[in-house]
């Protein structure tokens, strides 16, 4: 479904990723881990073609189409959805306005206002946020945790097929983290999307039970494993986990 091949990326004359490879098949959940500054957020934004990041070589294929030649808008319309580490506040633009515009632009807005509001209300209830979020400005004056829930509101409305979550756990208290993780799990069970999760949080990994866990270091993925690799990282840190899983587990 999503296949990244030998991707090399630069920002302001600095190489952030070199020969990065990653393949995510339909319905798989992958966790990407790595130290601060390793390039995790970079890969999430490069997939959406944020033009701050210059792609030097390599390809990003999504169902055999190369995303590198596409605009951010077109990539979103293919069903790829990113929740960034720090979602911006857009004052003056409400969630409802943005979502209706998006659904209409995509030709997916088959709901009338009443149905649209009903759907939004239902999702707000599930996310344990007030219905007033429907008409609030996007992320504006929201707490860190509210922003993440607000982003999930967008996800539930837009129904993407491939989801990238960049540290969705940051800024969440214990209860919110559980709620957010379970909301992602519910979404997964209903729509079976592919998911790439960037996280440092054990409880998120525990709830979502990824198929694969990757370590990003030295500008590429240096190690891939299963849930046990994540456990090893949580217990022993990155360095010993990269050297050897079995050693680290001792």
């Amino acid at each position: 479904m999503l296949k990244i091949n030998n991707l090399t990326v630069k920002v302001l004359d600095k190489y952030i990723l070199k020969n990065f490879n990653l393949e995510i098949n339909e319905g798989e959940i992958h966790v990407l881990m790595g130290q601060n500054g390793a390039g995790k957020s970079t890969i999430s934004k490069v997939i959406m073609r944020d033009d701050t990041y210059e792609v030097i070589s390599g390809s990003i294929k999504y169902n055999d189409e190369n995303l590198i030649d596409m605009s951010t808008t077109d990539i979103a319309r293919k069903g790829i959805f990113l929740i960034t580490q720090n979602p911006p506040e857009i004052s003056g633009v409400t969630n409802a306005e943005m979502l209706r515009t998006s659904l209409t632009d995509m030709g997916k807005n088959d709901m009338n206002i009443l149905e649209f509001n009903r759907k939004m209300t239902k999702i707000c209830d599930k996310l344990n946020i007030s219905n007033s979020f429907i008409h609030r400005d996007i992320n504006y004056n929201m707490s860190g945790g509210e922003k993440k829930k607000n982003e999930l509101l967008h996800m539930w409305m837009l129904e993407p097929k491939c989801i990238i979550l960049d540290e969705i756990d940051s800024g969440l208290d214990v209860d919110s983290l559980k709620l957010v993780a379970n909301s992602i799990l519910d979404y997964y069970q209903e729509f079976k999307p592919s998911i790439l999760i960037i996280t440092h949080q054990k409880s998120l990994v525990d709830i979502l039970k990824p198929n694969y866990v990757h370590i990003l270091a030295d500008k590429k993925i240096v190690k891939t494993g299963d849930y046990n690799l994540a456990l090893s990282i949580f217990e022993n840190g990155f360095r010993s986990s990269i050297m050897s899983e079995s050693e680290a587990n001792e």
């Binding site: 959406m48 944020d50 033009d51 701050t52 605009s71 951010t72 808008t73 990539i75 979103a76 319309r77 959805f81 990113l82 960034t84 979602p87 911006p88 857009i90 004052s91 003056g92 633009v93 306005e97 943005m98 979502l99 515009t101 998006s102 659904l103 632009d105 995509m106 400005d137 967008h154 837009l158």
Partner: protein, 226 residues
């Protein structure tokens, strides 16, 4: 929401007394607004030469929202604030070609409060914005604030000169002016949610303008008189 009267104004003077009005169109080049009591007013269109004078009579509270498209327009607003008056003037505009906006406040009396907020969005053109507050000597307990922001394609398209002429110390005054482009990160964000670049720009610009308007009626409307 209260039922609002919608007006097309051809005359040179309008008396507003404890009422809410929407002015669809001002046609006269010279217009004097005499304001008594508590008045809310929305203005959706002005002529290419427009001199508006606002008299706030003692104890008047005046909320005025303008939501206009300026295309080769010279708009001058003169304000005279009497004793214990309160003015909130919110001016949201798009500008095309070359336009001028001058807002002049004459504060000769005491215990007044003035809040001037201007938001201007470039639609290929330039604008000169002058906001002038003149606070006369021997006045006291006045509050005066100006907040002017422009969203532009080209940084040279706007010149803002906030001008405060304060002839007394007994006043609280501040002004603040910024000119900026649409944030690249905001555009990327909206595009990543499936909006086209054009839609993304449009909602950002409209949000920037409507954000300052207080009258719900205007917010539901389109972009100025376009």
């Amino acid at each position: 929401m209260k039922q609002m009267n919608k007006l097309i104004v051809e005359q040179k003077e309008l008396i507003l007394n404890n009422e809410d009005v929407i002015i669809d169109k001002i046609l006269s080049e010279e217009l004097v607004l005499q304001v008594y009591g508590n008045v809310s007013c929305g203005v959706l269109s002005i002529p290419s030469i427009s001199n508006i004078t606002i008299y706030l009579h003692d104890n008047a509270i005046f909320n005025i929202d303008l939501f206009v498209h300026l295309n080769e327009v010279k708009n001058q607003i003169n304000i005279y604030s009497e004793f214990q008056t309160k003015l909130n003037l919110n001016y949201a505009c798009t500008f095309k070609n070359s336009s001028y906006l001058t807002i002049k406040n004459h504060i000769k009396n005491n215990e007044t409060e003035t809040n001037i907020t201007v938001r201007a969005v470039e639609d290929n053109g330039k604008i000169e914005i002058q906001a002038e507050g003149i606070i006369y000597e021997d006045t006291y307990s006045n509050f005066y604030a100006e907040d002017i922001k422009a969203l532009v394609i080209n940084n040279n398209s706007v010149s803002i000169s906030p001008n405060l002429l304060v002839k007394t110390n007994a006043v609280l005054a501040n002004h603040n002016a910024t000119i900026s482009n649409i944030e690249k990160n905001d555009l990327f964000y909206l595009e990543s949610k499936g909006l086209s670049k054009e839609s993304a720009k449009k909602v950002i610009k409209t949000g920037f303008l409507k954000g300052i308007l207080k009258l719900e009626f205007l917010k539901l409307g389109g972009e100025g008189n376009e």
